[in-house]
């Protein structure tokens, strides 16, 4: 062991020696103060190409029209795309809007966010509270609830589709019980319900983990003090546990909202592209359809919708950062 460690040390020394001369040379040229930026540069280049550049391109495209992909061939249209997206007699009635699918998608997304955030938060909280107790096989359950998080959204969509299909597992089970089969994914109510169910099942493990970490950070002697103070279990939950879990609950709430607004892949696979009809068409899917799926490649309109969604997410993120700082202090 000691010899292996010694060898590793020597190898590391050799590598360091190899780099020492060129790095010293660079330092002499650019000066010590600029060295940190040299080390940040590779990462910055990657971020630039895959994050900042696409953002800039999308913002640029949002002000252009036509169906050409090359920005030099695209006519500048000013705020036309935004005007088209926002032109509406009543925002409550998507049909009255010029771009009715956009507003259908917004309303679908809002409903989804509302139900999904509430359901995931509740399920994750209850799960975390249970897993925080000294129950048997706790480690196994923790792993089990986290496991779906590791799967690909497409796999999630396909598994549940197979489960919910006309000839799927759920219908087979219902038939065994004598209940007539239901075509869940072709029914507006059921399909919306199951999009939320799938999303909760998929993501709850992650949020459970955050809440569990928060629960474990609550000192045990507070519960002992509460026991001596004659607090009932429900008083302990509402007066001790939940207030002290507040910071974690806030983080989970904001993260959940951001992630819910972004719903796309698993729902798209599950509902065969947002069906039935447009019952499960969400914003990201609208953007995807406008840009890449339709006969007309409406890059400008899609980019404008992206920019609008980006602004909403930006606000939510700022709120999260602000809350994060508050919690830290």
């Amino acid at each position: 062991m000691a010899r292996a460690a010694g060898l590793a040390d020597r190898a590391l020394d050799l590598v360091m020696a190899l780099f020492e001369a060129p790095i010293n040379a660079i330092e002499r040229v650019i000066g010590k103060g600029r060295m940190p930026y040299l080390f940040l540069a590779p990462n910055l280049v990657l971020f630039g190409i895959f994050t900042f550049l696409p953002i800039a391109i999308a913002i640029g495209y949002a002000f252009t029209g036509g169906a050409d992909l090359l920005i030099s061939n695209r006519p500048f249209v000013g705020l036309d795309n935004f005007r088209k997206l926002l032109a509406c007699d009543s925002y409550l009635v998507p049909g009255s809007c010029e771009e009715s699918l956009f507003w259908t998608a917004i309303w679908n997304t809002l409903w989804f966010v509302g139900f999904n955030v509430a359901a995931t938060l509740l399920v994750a909280l209850v799960t975390a509270l249970i897993l925080n107790r000294a129950i048997a096989a706790r480690g196994f359950f923790r792993a089990m609830f986290f496991y779906p998080v590791l799967l690909s959204p497409v796999v999630i969509g396909l598994i549940w589709k197979w489960f919910l299909d006309r000839n799927g597992l759920l219908n087979a089970f219902l038939q065994m019980l004598g209940v007539p089969p239901e075509i869940f994914l072709l029914d507006v109510g059921w399909s919306r319900f199951f999009v939320v169910v799938v999303s909760v099942w998929f993501h709850m493990g992650f949020y459970t983990l955050i809440l569990l970490a928060g629960l474990q950070a609550i000192p045990k002697d507070l519960y002992e003090a509460a026991a001596i103070d004659a607090a009932t279990p429900s008083r302990t939950l509402f007066r001790i546990t939940l207030p002290l879990l507040g910071p974690n609950l806030l983080v989970v709430l904001i993260l959940l909202m951001i992630r819910s607004v972004q719903i796309f892949d698993e729902a798209w696979v599950l509902t065969n592209g947002g069906g039935p009809g447009t019952a499960n068409t969400f914003i990201v899917q609208y953007i995807y359809q406008m840009a890449f799926a339709g006969d007309l490649r409406l890059y400008g309109l899609a980019s404008a919708a992206s920019v609008l969604m980006g602004l909403v997410l930006l606000v939510l993120t700022l709120v999260q950062l602000r809350l994060g700082k508050k919690v830290e202090s």
Partner: protein, 366 residues
């Protein structure tokens, strides 16, 4: 009534037996200190009394009522935790009120009790602050206040001063003692600090490895320790232990020969020992007298001057252990000097080396 009776109490965590057949009677209004080294089971014993831990076997009665099956809240006890365990998201006022609200007290009664406790502990200015905004000493008072408003039969303190600095510890120690005098409620106090035990207790319970070694008043335990452990644990610096043999004097008194012409006089009953029997002789550092003529030849190594007192460290030829001699005032013997020392009358403790039990008079009980 705040009297407590523990009968044949045993506690095991899995296969680890932490308390063995603990029997203890605490009278109403007593201030009792559980003291012992880390891991002796003193905190576990306190938590068992509080109802925060189950017993493996045995009975607990508070005020004559068996509380073994009762929840902590039903035992009429209040506890002050080492960490204070204040609810960080509640103001001091809400911290104090929480227990009373749980017990469905009327608002006016809650307010009256909080006002009274805040006055006693001088925490009125902080009532609307959060624990985070308070100093360690202030938090400590709030923790005590939370116990006081409950008006319990027994107060339980789990090393409450260990997070305070030295000066504050001395002050808070005195305040808790004063509080006990005013309230006359039973208090059980856990500490590993023998100074706290000696200064605060009506009754000290010395624990070692889950067993009660001795119970008695501080001075009973100091003057008449039942065994070597108690003798060594109470008193600072520790009692000096010398190896010796029993000599029966002409007047049938029991003397101890520690290898020098000077024999040490003891109060041991001659019927209990035989001449020539090996014993351990214990003398506290403060209980040596210096003399010019006769005594044990103590060779000085070095000394520590604390101003009002001086500790002289050295050894006696033929005795392996270092010997410490205490003198009041300034005293600066040169290293290598030989001092003649003898134990003061009635200050010699004699122990059986095998059983480690005291052979002389013992106060209190095991």
């Amino acid at each position: 009534m705040g009297d407590l009776k523990l009968t044949n109490l045993n506690k095991a965590f899995g296969t680890v037996h932490v308390l063995h057949d603990v029997n203890l009677q605490i009278d109403d209004g007593e201030f009792v200190v559980f003291v012992g080294p880390s891991g002796c089971g003193k905190s576990t014993l306190l938590r068992i009394i509080a109802g925060l831990e189950d017993v493996t076997s045995g009975a607990i009665a508070i005020g004559g009522r068996d509380v073994g099956a009762l929840s902590p809240a039903e035992r009429k006890i209040a506890m002050v935790f080492q960490s204070y365990a204040l609810y960080p998201h509640m103001s001091v006022r809400k911290n104090l009120a929480f227990g009373l609200e749980n017990l469905k007290f009327k608002r006016a009664e809650i307010d009256a009790r909080i006002t009274e406790a805040a006055r006693m502990l001088a925490i009125e200015p902080y009532l609307d602050r959060r624990p985070k905004q308070l100093s360690g000493g202030q938090r400590q008072r709030v923790a005590i206040g939370r116990a006081i408003v409950r008006d319990p039969d027994i107060f339980l303190f789990d090393e409450p001063l260990s997070n305070l600095d030295a000066a504050l510890r001395v002050q808070t120690r005195a305040e808790i003692t004063k509080l006990h005098r005013e309230m006359q409620t039973t208090m059980i106090y856990v500490t590993h600090d023998q100074v706290e035990a000696m200064t605060m207790a009506d009754k000290i319970v010395v624990l070692r490895a889950g067993r009660i070694e001795q119970v008695g008043s501080p001075l009973e335990l100091f003057d008449h320790p039942r065994n070597l452990f108690v003798a060594g644990f109470l008193g600072s610096p520790r009692m000096n232990i010398l190896k010796g043999r029993v000599v029966i004097g002409d007047d049938r008194s029991v003397l101890v020969d520690v290898g020098y012409p000077t024999l040490l006089r003891s109060d041991v009953d001659p019927a209990k020992v035989t001449a020539g029997q090996e014993v351990l002789a214990g003398v506290r550092p403060a209980h040596f007298a210096l003399s010019d003529s006769e005594g044990l030849p103590f060779e000085v190594q070095y000394h520590e001057s604390l101003g009002t007192e001086t500790y002289v460290y050295g050894n006696l030829q033929g005795q392996s252990a270092q010997v410490i001699v205490h003198r009041y005032g300034h005293f600066a013997p040169a290293p290598g000097a030989i001092l003649k020392i003898t134990p003061q009358d009635d200050r010699l403790h004699v122990f059986d080396p095998a059983s480690e039990l005291a052979l002389g008079r013992v106060s209190g009980r095991a």
